[in-house]
């Protein structure tokens, strides 16, 4: 019966029931949305982590079968992925076997095809494709060569051994004396000699060695190898043992070159016999008499490519240990080793062993497994990438924040709506009581109402909530360039729903108690005033009959004061809604700031190439052509660079930034940035020593004047103009001089921590140290264009002097001289308008010279010729030991169309990178991660903002409505007394405006407090970069909404006839 009363009552109050259902339903919808979004976000992250890093909990690498079996015996081990490392392959990288468990735990994603199943099948990593000169497809049969190193040492160690063995014999046999003598050379000195020279540790003995090996012309090492190969066949497996010996090569005095350990050296001071010894022939010798450099087993089998695996080996948490780049079955492994290599009769391989990598899936967590067995298995490592230690993220915190906010908002909303209903239903409740209903029955009726409300709203909310979650995920995936999979954390969702149900019951608790107190007379007595008036006191108080006229405004203000609580509640709710909405913008700004700052403003590319020398002008078009071959590449910006030039100009000593930097720089690093030792260079004298002594070290980036990049710099000039011809010839250059803001810092070298220093390099050190010591902030960011200062020590038209160490050699010794270049300053760039020019927006160098290729050629003549016949490795060695800057550098920044096929582009760019042997940096993943994270956070924050704001506004609308309902009688009375419609409208409009303004003011104060907190916590937000227009627009919209929310409900009431409003009481 009570249930029926409850249900019929709800049906009778359709409007109220609808509002209540709407609010409660909305809160459930948002709860479900928030929990599902959170679960999806966390679930997808875990999926992505395990997909990227494997789902194994721990690994033991480079181990043997004994350890593998010990691990297998542990109770917690559920799966054991084992990969036997067979060896290296020139094209395929590391080859290993794979078992079923490893296939499961590895979560390998196939780019194409499948994993191998038979012993003649192989699957390789995607990044290996670029090693092949032709395209490899699934189904192709390729020769798989595994190289097993048997013996290896440096060739010069072998050579030394041979020299030591052979020379005394030559001396004895042929009577040569003093063979060990200094040789003339103009090539590369032996490594150990120049290591000593660099460190300043050469001794007199070193300068005049008796070991003539130190001076051997090194040129082409391979030319000095004698290779001996043996071939054996074991079924499908071919085994070649390749042995390499060193054979000395020295030009002899009889005109010609002989390959022989006995060849006579042509050295000054060596006593030669008049006639060549008879034994000096064409140099045939049994290689086995030579010194062995290396011995390797090359096992080759033809195998069918069954699959191409998405790159994984550079991602897993295995430290520096190499992982297989190609997988074969365990049977295939046996074919290579047991049925191949170990059957050789050429050499003794009885001691040969392969090693295994083991990946463990345990029944307990990764951390627990590691804690339990970490000591027993010393080299056990945890998969920290897939299962990071830190759980809980900002997103989690925000989600719980959302749930809490929704909970509070719902309690308020339900409380407020039920309160209104209760007041309106007092007569009915009194009626029920008058016919005999006791309080517990009244309570039951109300509780049943809540039950029916929940029964009605929950299923609908669940459906809408899940549907909306799916839609939000689709939206985030489409526009956020992320992949978010739908996950439901049932416990969390149930918790959220439980919280929602609790909030409904809590909200109706107080009104329910009030209902039970409704007296039989049918009215809820007016709550007593806080300060009861003492009758006696007032009775005697004189009253002014001629009191001041009460205007309608005064009358209304009295009403506001009389209802302070309601007024305060209304103002608070408006403030909450406003603060939440504006706060969402602020938080979104913070979250997206990262993406804007690091990707958009800096014009960050998709890939970066760095080559250890400057390409010739003829090579550059070839490189560009190779890159543009892939349609996905939209833009390539290429620089030829010369580094470590000393820059001087007339006012350089007035530059306070340089002076400050010098003060805080550790002494060991000063030479990288300033010219201090002008006595180092032989062609500096009193007249020109200042060109180095007072100079700052700069880097020169040069561009092709016909390239669009030239135009970009031209358009970016803050001062001056570029004359193309003069720029091209090198007569003119432009400079990048960053904007600066002076700080308060009195920082000294001691305050710069080692952590900061270790992450700096020659290019970014000035900006980082000045910022961290709070002395100066430097930037090329256009957003600071009007806010920061500009370097005024240089003007357009000034002459700048560049002094560049020639890095020439005179014989064996460096010439220690410099080259002087004078040029005119055609223009200055203080900041880049709108988008930056990479990499200058990111790494703030100061100063930077931008010139033409011809200019580079003048400053660094060696760059004209490229690397010549040197290999990249040769160059690396030369750069490390002799000529750090002579050959220049090439930097290329590649921009890819976001709609291009990522894999295609990646493979093609990596192929070019391999061909040119460049150092490749992939910025794509970084950019995506930043954007995805920003969007996720913004989506959550927006969700928070919208959900709380909507609920709050509903509460507000309803509050106003119910407030007006309660005021209807008063409105009716005032109408009867003669207050016009216009007066009511004016009052409520003013009140709405008042609430709106108050809400805005308090919200801004709260936001200001939040900003202050960010400043105090050391993470200030650049407020002048805040999207103020959006903020103002949002504030205006909120203000209008508040005003209208307060004003609109009035219109209906004042249109009623006075008697209808008066009659409303107790309806």
């Amino acid at each position: 019966m009570l249930r029926k009363i409850a249900l019929s009552g709800m049906k009778g109050r359709k409007k109220d029931t609808f509002i209540l259902s709407f609010v409660v339903g909305l809160s459930f919808v948002f709860t479900i949305l928030a929990t599902i979004f959170h679960a999806s976000s966390e679930g997808t992250k875990l999926e992505q982590r395990t997909a990227m890093f494997g789902s194994w909990d721990a690994a033991y690498l480079n181990t043997n079968k004994e350890i593998v079996e010990k691990i297998r015996e542990k109770d917690e081990v559920e799966k054991l992925g084992v990969s036997r490392i067979l060896g290296n392959s020139p094209y395929l990288g590391v080859i290993g076997t794979i078992n079923d468990d490893l296939m499961d735990l590895g979560n390998f994603t196939m780019y194409e095809g499948r994993m191998p199943e038979k012993d003649n099948e192989i699957a390789l990593e995607l990044n290996r494709l670029s090693y092949f000169s032709s395209d490899i497809k699934v189904g192709d049969t390729i020769p798989v060569e595994i190289v097993i190193p048997i013996y290896e040492r440096e060739w010069y160690e072998a050579a030394r051994e041979q020299v030591i063995r052979v020379i005394p014999e030559i001396e004895e046999r042929f009577g040569f004396k003093n063979i060990l003598y200094q040789m003339n050379n103009f090539g590369i000195w032996a490594r150990e000699y120049y290591e000593k020279d660099r460190m300043g540790e050469l001794t007199a003995y070193d300068r005049y060695p008796t070991d003539w090996f130190s001076y051997i012309y090194y040129g082409f090492a391979n030319s000095y190898r004698r290779n001996v190969n043996s071939l054996e066949q074991f079924g499908d497996t071919k085994l070649v043992i390749k042995t390499s010996y060193v054979q000395m090569f020295i030009p002899d005095s009889y005109g010609g070159y002989r390959f022989s350990p006995y060849t006579i050296p042509d050295v000054e001071g060596t006593e030669l016999p008049e006639d060549p010894p008879e034994e000096l022939t064409d140099g045939s010798i049994d290689p086995k008499e030579l010194s062995m450099i290396s011995q390797k087993g090359h096992i080759t089998r033809n195998m069918v490519v069954t699959g191409i695996i998405q790159n994984y080996s550079n991602l897993w948490d295995v430290g520096d240990e190499p992982l297989p780049n190609a997988f074969v079955t365990e049977e295939a492994g046996k074919s290579f080793i047991e049925n191949g290599f170990l059957l050789t009769e050429e050499i003794d391989v009885s001691d040969f062993k392969t090693y295994d990598n083991v990946f463990i899936d345990s029944s307990i967590s990764s951390q627990d497994f590691y804690n339990k067995y970490g000591e027993e298995f010393e080299n056990l490592r945890r998969n920290t990438y897939a299962y990071p230690e830190t759980s809980g993220s900002t997103e989690s915190t925000l989600t719980y924040g959302i749930l809490a906010a929704i909970f509070i908002a719902t309690v308020f909303a339900v409380f407020q709506i039920y309160l209104t209903q209760t007041r309106r239903r007092t007569r009915r409740i009194a009626l029920l009581k008058s016919i005999g209903a006791v309080n517990s029955q009244i309570r039951s009726v109300l509780l049943w109402e809540v039950v029916y409300l929940l029964l009605f709203t929950l299923p609908i909310s669940l459906v809408i909530g899940f549907g909306l979650s799916k839609a939000v995920i689709l939206f985030v995936n489409k526009y956020g360039n992320t992949v978010l999979n739908l996950h439901i954390d049932y416990m969390l969702t149930l918790f959220g729903i439980g919280l929602g149900i609790l909030s409904v019951f809590l909200g109706m608790l107080a009104p329910m108690v009030m209902s039970m107190k409704v007296p039989l007379t049918g009215t809820i007595s007016t709550p007593p005033r806080k300060k009861p008036i003492i009758k006696g006191k007032l009775k005697t108080k004189p009253v002014n009959l001629n009191m001041k006229v009460q205007s309608f405004r005064r009358i209304s203000l009295r009403n506001l004061k009389y209802n302070k609580g309601k007024t305060l509640l209304t103002a608070s709710l408006y403030t909450i809604a406003t603060a939440v909405l504006l706060g969402s913008i602020f938080l979104s700004f913070i979250f997206f700031g990262d993406y804007i700052d690091n990707v958009i403003v800096k014009d960050k590319p998709s890939y970066g190439f760095e080559l250890n020398h400057a390409l010739t002008n003829r090579s550059i078009p070839k490189l560009l052509e190779a890159l543009y071959e892939n349609e996905g590449v939209t833009r390539v910006e290429l620089y030829k660079a010369g580094e470590h030039a000393y820059l001087w100009h007339e006012n350089i000593n007035d530059n306070e930034i340089y002076a400050s930097f010098r003060e805080i720089l550790p002494s060991k690093l000063i030479e990288e940035h300033f010219g201090i030792d002008d006595t180092k260079y032989v062609n500096l004298d009193d007249d020109n020593s200042h060109l180095v002594g007072d100079a700052i070290v700069t880097n020169i980036y040069t561009i092709d004047v016909e390239d669009p990049l030239y135009r970009r710099f031209e358009d970016s000039l803050s001062l001056g103009e570029m004359d193309k011809e003069k720029f091209k010839t090198g007569e003119e250059v432009i400079l990048l001089l960053p904007l600066y803001e002076k700080g308060e810092g009195e920082g000294s070298i001691d305050e710069i921590s080692e952590d900061i220093l270790v992450n700096t390099n020659q290019k970014n050190r000035m900006e980082v140290l000045l910022r961290n010591s709070n002395k100066y902030k430097l930037t090329y960011d256009f957003r600071y264009g009007d806010l920061y200062s500009k370097d005024e020590t240089l003007s357009v038209g000034d002459t700048i002097y560049l002094t560049i160490p020639t890095e020439d050699m005179a014989g064996e010794l460096p010439t220690n001289d410099v080259r002087f270049i004078e040029t005119k300053l055609a223009g200055i760039i203080y900041y880049f308008p709108e988008k930056g020019i990479w990499p200058f927006g990111d790494t703030v160098e100061n100063p930077v010279v931008i010139g033409s290729y011809n200019f580079l050629g003048k400053a660094y003549p060696a760059t004209i010729f490229g690397k010549g016949y040197l290999t990249i490795e040769d160059l690396d060695y030369l750069i490390a030991s002799l000529y750090p800057h002579k050959y220049g550098k090439t930097y290329a920044y590649i921009y890819v169309d976001k709609d291009a096929n990522e894999i295609d582009v990646d493979v093609s760019i990596k192929r070019v990178a391999r061909e040119y042997e460049v150092k490749l940096t992939n910025y794509i993943e970084e950019n995506k991660k930043i954007f995805g994270k920003s969007l996720n956070m913004t989506a959550i924050v927006t969700l928070l903002g919208i959900s709380v704001a909507i609920i709050t506004l509903i509460i507000l609308y309803n509050t106003t409505l119910s407030k007006l309902e309660q005021e209807r009688e008063r409105i009716g009375i005032l109408q009867a007394l003669g207050v016009t419609e216009g007066q009511f409208k004016g009052l409520y409009l003013l009140s709405g405006i008042g609430y709106g303004l108050l809400a805005l003011i308090i919200s801004h104060l709260l936001l200001g407090l939040a900003v202050l907190i960010t400043f105090i916590s050391g993470r200030p937000q650049p407020l002048y970069l805040y999207p103020w227009k959006l903020h103002v627009l949002a504030s205006i919209v909120v203000f209008i909404v508040i005003t209208m929310t307060y004003f609109m409900p009035l219109r209906k009431i004042i249109r009623n006839q006075p008697i209808d409003n008066i009659r409303n009481l107790g309806r």
Binding site: T526, Q550, I555, V979
Partner: protein, 221 residues
């Protein structure tokens, strides 16, 4: 010319499918200076009639004339101002504003018109209603009878032409009720006002100069 005239006034309430004809083609003339009592059973339409006479409600059909002018052809603002200046109301449940003192309640109609009433008139009214010592009190500190006196004072303050009282004694005991009726009559005589009072009590009705009987939405006698 009659002070108030109703011409073919009907009032119908429609709630869903339910239609209630509270007044049916009522024609009525009210002359100045008399004390009228409208009597009828509960639900007969007497309060509806009173409310329309006081322009507190609009008829579904018909017209109301006040001193020859058609009231409901005016704008809402004009009607409100007219009500403010020409009509005083006394309700059964007093309808005083609880956050204002007795004096403030009394003076409100005049103040809403932007005027200060004549102090002597005020003294006269509060003296006649015997509420001089209650002026600083708030309505919820008064008894029912006292509140009704305040309501009467408020109705009188602007010296309206008409006082409309809707069951003013409904919430009062007999003695207090009679006192209120006496006060109303006295004030009307003193200030030469027309009173129209709705009651279901024949004893009270008999004290009026003229009785209008309403039966089932129509004027009987």
């Amino acid at each position: 010319m009659s002070l108030l005239r109703l011409e073919n006034v009907s009032k119908t309430y429609i709630t869903g499918d339910l239609r209630v004809d509270a007044l049916k083609s009522v024609n009525l003339e009210i002359e100045e200076g008399y004390f009228y009592a409208i009597i009828g059973k509960s639900g007969s339409g007497k309060s509806t009639l009173l409310h329309i006479l006081g322009a507190l409600d609009r008829p579904t059909e018909g017209k109301l004339f006040l001193e020859g002018e058609s009231v409901f052809e005016k704008t809402d603002k004009e009607i409100t101002i007219l009500r403010r200046r020409r009509i005083g109301f006394v309700f059964q449940s007093y309808n005083l504003l609880p956050e204002h003192t007795v004096l403030e309640n009394i003076l409100m109609p005049a103040h809403l018109d932007g005027k200060k009433p004549d102090e002597n008139r005020l003294k006269e009214i509060i003296s006649a209603l015997d509420i001089e010592d209650k002026l600083a009190y708030y309505p919820d500190e008064l008894s029912g009878g006292q509140r009704q006196r305040v309501a009467i004072a408020r109705a009188l303050i602007t010296n309206p032409a008409i006082i409309l009282a809707d069951e003013p004694t409904g919430n009062l005991d007999e003695k207090t009720g009679q006192e209120v009726i006496d006060l109303i009559k006295e004030s009307a005589q003193k200030f030469n006002q027309t009173i129209i009072l709705v009651t279901h009590d024949m004893d009270i009705a008999k004290q009026a100069d003229r009785i209008i009987q309403i039966v089932d939405g129509r004027i009987g006698n």
